[in-house]
């Protein structure tokens, strides 16, 4: 089982991101489950959504307490919510920001994790460019496909097309693809560093 926890704020498409990730996994023939943290949704309030996938039926209904991966849609949450709580030692971290982990002030903290599992991506900028709105969720999923290797970009793009009407989907597909390439580039750079 591979468990992803997505942190963001109300209005950033956090729940939709988890749903799309589950659709992407389903399209790869896997069993997947996505669910929100069930708060009263308020714009700007911290929101958590969860996605599990596995090769067999998923029965578990508890929230993801020990995630294999974290997608953080809003870096302002880093010092407000215990976003890293329970992350497994070889877990993946993807943060939506144009800054680096050290610039975010968490360089020391993430030192214990696998460097090649960590990445930041300016997903909001990709969203503004391709969608015209600051909704980073689809772009982050593209970046997540690259950094984690646990889901194919094509599956993510198919999930985006399934979730959104054609016109909005096209922009989000472009944003996700751009973020995917960006993360691959970052990873290549890190590998040569």
């Amino acid at each position: 089982m591979f468990q992803t926890r997505i942190h963001g704020r109300g209005g950033q498409g956090v729940v939709t991101a988890a749903e799309m990730l589950s659709v992407a996994a389903f399209r790869e023939g896997r069993y997947a489950q996505a669910f929100p943290s069930f708060g009263s949704e308020r714009t700007g309030a911290p929101v958590v959504a969860f996605c599990r996938f596995d090769d067999k039926t998923i029965r578990l209904r508890e929230p993801i307490i020990q995630p294999d991966a974290l997608i953080i849609q809003d870096p302002t949450l880093l010092h407000q919510v215990d976003v890293f709580g329970g992350l497994v030692p070889d877990g993946y971290i993807l943060i939506n920001t144009s800054r680096s982990f050290s610039e975010l002030g968490i360089g020391e903290f993430v030192r214990g994790f696998h460097a090649e599992h960590l990445c930041t991506v300016p997903a909001t900028e990709f969203a503004l460019k391709h969608v015209g709105r600051p909704l980073p969720n689809a772009a982050l999923l593209g970046g997540f496909a690259a950094v984690s290797g646990r889901i194919a970009l094509d599956s993510v793009l198919a999930a985006i097309r399934e979730k959104f009407p054609a016109k909005i989907a096209a922009g989000n597909v472009a944003a996700a693809s751009a973020a995917y390439e960006y993360v691959l580039g970052e990873m290549r750079e890190a590998a040569h560093a």
């Binding site: 589950s22 389903f26 997947a32 069930f38 029965r59 215990d82």
Partner: protein, 417 residues
Amino acid sequence: MLKQTEGSRAVAEAVALCRPEVICAYPISPQTHIVEGLGEMVKSGALANCEFINVESEFAAMSVAIGASAAGARAYTATASQGLLFMAEAVFNASGLGLPIVMTVANRAIGAPINIWNDHTDAMSQRDCGWIQLFAEDNQEALDLHIQAFRLGEELSLPVMVCMDGFILTHAYERVDIPAQAQVDAYLPRYEPRQILDPAEPVTIGAMVGPEAFTEVRYLAHIKQMQALELIPGYAEEFRSVFGRSSGGLLHSYRTEDADTIVVALGSVLGTVKDTVDEMRADGTRIGVLGITCFRPWPHAAVRAALKGAKRVVVIEKSLAVGLGGIVSSNVHNSLAAPSTPVHAVIAGLGGRTITRASLHGAFADAIAGQLESVSFLDLDSAAVDRVLAREREVRRSGPIAEAVLRGMGAPGARIG
């Protein structure tokens, strides 16, 4: 067709496949996505020959369903929580009149304190209202139970409540197999009412009944529910032959063959319970699970048989009978072949409190060690309770309790789950 979709959407599609003729709805979380989905299908024409009626309250929703059903239409509505309470008078009327309405209850806590999250208090508050109550373990079963509910309710002329955990199921995306229209048509015959308001053949439905006959009418309601116990296993079996999967039935046993300890539960928590039981089995603990799908009528004989070998029973209760403890455990206790078998009510998941494997594991281990009270509260924050009790001892005007508990807890937004 296999789909990855939201539980509410899956139920909406299942209800549409049942060809309802009248859907009346009033929105309340977490049920709203279901009737929104159906409303869209009626508007687009995907669901034909169906009237979608927006009403001004839940009381009106059930009243319209009653009128529609009495006129011979296949009627459906959905609600939750305070909405179910607000329609309660009409809920009793629907069953008292013997009208086979199907209603989804997207289970949610009852206020005060106001709380939109999941538990079973709403459905349990109506457990003796005369409706059949079925509880879904996952979204596939929620979908399937609606199809079976129309079949069962219409055969008996009794209304059926399909209970699915609010948010945990209604808002979860998971894999479901949406049947083909031809399969549903093969399983669910046209509605042939036992009673109908027809100007060509006028009848009275809803006569006043005095002491001379009231007991007899109520007795017949009881008999009908008992008939459901006979029909449900057969309908589940027939469902399996048409749709190729097991869904419904009275109850399901899991790894109970040689179990000393059997955990009883209803609804979506069964998944987490089964995973916990698998972990404990791996350590050599003889523990199993009994999932109750049909809560009303209460499958007395089947529960008795399923719990026969148990040395102790642990019941996960998502509803608190204030002043007593557990509702399901009281029912379970009545069905035990050996009434001296300990039955532990574990009140869990109230108002959306997370039920984790770790906590369940602890409770089950305590039960096995003989250290679990007959009524306990999973993950109760005793310090929070003690603070309030201490203040009440010290100050006469101690203030509202809910606010006092919250004050002592800090910012819940910073927590996960």
